[in-house]
């Protein structure tokens, strides 16, 4: 695949065929706990998308210009996490200052993004798959949108679940995990359109 189309292919794949949540099961914790309301799900999803796109790009720069030249690739786990934490903190301050509305809409979920493993996961995949800077950025953005899509779908389903009759033992996280499994199977319908490693 030529280098101009490839980033967009990765972008598309990250949303549909290789959805970070439904194929890798990353970012499960907040996916399960925040997907009860459509509005908060959307807010968190957008924040995750934003953080993913930016931190993947920053981490790419840090990895290729700081860690690789000094052969410190093994430090990437620590370094990526520090960068993510600092960046989330920064975003929180900026949002608090300049967009009170968004700050209140996201609330406590904003700082919680730091510990969303999808964010670290995407940075690590980007290294393993040897993406270029542009591809990494689109990979991050796409993964975020894929996560947003998955949590929105889940919130929609859970809204209906409230009126459904669920066996007592499966209420809450149990049924949510089963549904996530079904959703993953449904997304398998996209596979074959594009294959990325």
């Amino acid at each position: 695949m030529n280098s101009i189309i490839f980033p967009f292919a990765v972008f598309f794949a990250a949303i549909f065929t290789n959805n970070i949540l439904l194929t890798n099961y990353l970012g499960m914790c907040s996916f399960l706990s925040v997907s009860k309301e459509l509005e908060t799900s959307a807010g968190l999803g957008i924040a995750v998308t934003f953080v993913l796109a930016v931190t993947t790009a920053i981490n790419w720069v840090v990895y290729h210009f700081l860690l690789v030249p000094f052969q410190l690739e093994y430090l990437r786990f620590i370094v990526f996490i520090i960068v993510i934490a600092a960046f989330v903190q920064l975003i929180e301050m900026v949002i608090e200052r300049y967009s009170e509305g968004l700050y209140f809409a996201l609330g406590i979920f904003l700082p919680l993004i730091t510990v969303n493993c999808a964010i670290l996961g995407v940075s690590l995949f980007m290294v393993i798959r040897e993406y270029t800077f542009i591809t990494s950025f689109f990979f991050g953005l796409g993964s975020g949108l894929g996560w947003l899509l998955a949590i929105l779908a889940m919130a929609g389903i859970r809204k209906r679940l409230r009126t459904a009759k669920i066996p007592a033992g499966l209420e809450g996280a149990g049924i949510a995990l089963i549904i996530a499994g079904f959703m993953a199977m449904a997304f398998m319908g996209f596979s074959g359109m594009i294959t990325i490693s």
Partner: protein, 367 residues
């Protein structure tokens, strides 16, 4: 080998410094809200650095709002009415704010950040709250898990309190906490002794303050407290009094009873004290001495689970059952309760069933 090690340390440090610098710059630019003005009760004006929580800003200016958790948003005590400049509620405030309080613009001052000029309303008596530097004069064991701590006030040297009120104890940073935190404790001392404060502190496993007091605090240490706070004090009526306490709930009631004895009160008072076994009872001599000093006072300790070798001859059973059996004067009396939330709720229920109106039941719940 060593070179690699040094380089890795260097790089990590470099990244950390760069990010820390970024945060410092952000804090000074994005997070800098300049100087803002807080107007208290339409008359007092304070100028503080913007961006910090209201509770902290007020503390820095010597205005103390009661808070049991030290500003973590987990006790819900530090409520303040913000009449101007309040803005929206934070998700961390909402669990503590009722619909009624929302209309009154009540905010949780440890969560609400002052970013612009605000006007707030606080009870007048909070102006009389002071911060005291004290020295630990004596620590003694009351039971296997309750210690009595007697503090000598140094600066300012005197406290004006009502019997039954509480103070906040500042725990300095130590192994269980990275920053100083405040915990509320009732004063067990009598108000006429204005130079001392006595606290009764029960060891709670992993409790930040209780562990500090039980394991680290020594006689001669310096302790910072602020107060007095609270609406739990003896009402000036002629009614009979029913006191109920358990464990370290003894403290405010001891203060109230000592105060009554000093003032020569003739009101009929009964004090039900619940414990599990005889080893959980304490201050029995002091209570019997009070019975001598006050003709209408009776101390009724009750054990719920006396051990065989306690040779217990007093009341047995849950404190609620004992109260139910004996408090026949409940409809005319008023009650003062101090203890765990579970005990208080059970006692309020029993007293209501006995015919006591709820507005005459005063209590101090351990948060």
């Amino acid at each position: 080998m060593i070179a690699t090690l040094l380089i890795s340390v260097l790089i990590i440090t470099l990244i950390a410094i760069a990010l820390a610098l970024l945060m410092v710059i952000a804090d000074a630019t994005v997070g800098n809200y300049g100087v803002v003005k807080i107007t208290i009760n339409d008359k007092k004006e304070l100028e503080v650095a913007g961006g910090q929580p209201l509770l902290k800003a007020l503390n820095g200016e010597g205005v103390f709002i009661p808070s049991a958790c030290g500003g973590r948003g987990s006790c819900g005590l530090c409520k303040v009415r913000v009449t101007e400049g309040g803005g929206n509620y934070l998700p961390t405030e909402l669990p503590w704010i009722s619909e009624e309080e929302k209309k009154q613009q009540v905010r949780l001052s440890c969560q609400f950040k002052v970013k612009n000029d605000v006007s707030i309303q606080i009870p007048e008596e909070l102006f009389s709250v002071r911060q005291f530097t004290t020295t630990v004069e004596r620590i003694r064991d009351l039971t296997h898990d309750i210690k009595e701590v007697r503090l000598k006030l140094n600066d300012p040297p005197n406290i004006e309190m009502k019997a039954g009120q509480f103070i906040q104890f500042q725990v300095p940073a130590y192994e269980l906490t990275d920053e100083p935190v405040y915990r509320a404790y009732s004063m067990a001392s009598v108000p006429s002794d204005t130079t001392h404060v006595e606290l009764e502190i029960r060891l709670v496993p992993n409790g930040i303050c209780t562990t500090y007091v039980h394991k680290h605090l020594k006689e001669g240490d310096t302790v910072t407290v602020n107060g007095p706070y609270g609406e739990f004090f003896l009402r000036d009526t002629e009614r009979d009094i029913i006191c109920i306490a358990g464990g370290s709930g003894m403290a405010p009631l001891k203060s109230i009873l000592l105060d009554m004895a000093e003032k020569g009160s003739k009101r009929k008072a009964r004090y039900f004290f619940g414990a599990r076994t005889a080893r959980d009872l304490f201050l029995l001599d002091e209570m019997h001495e009070l019975e001598e000093r006050m003709e209408n006072f009776t101390f009724i300790p009750a054990l719920s689970d006396p051990a065989p070798d306690d040779n217990w001859t007093g009341e047995t059973g849950l404190i609620t059952d004992v109260v139910k059996r004996m408090a026949e004067n409940a409809p005319e009396a008023e009650a003062y309760l101090c203890g765990s939330p579970g005990m208080i709720d059970a006692c309020v229920k029993v007293l209501s069933e006995l015919g006591m109106p709820e507005e005459r039941i005063y209590y101090d719940k351990f948060a």
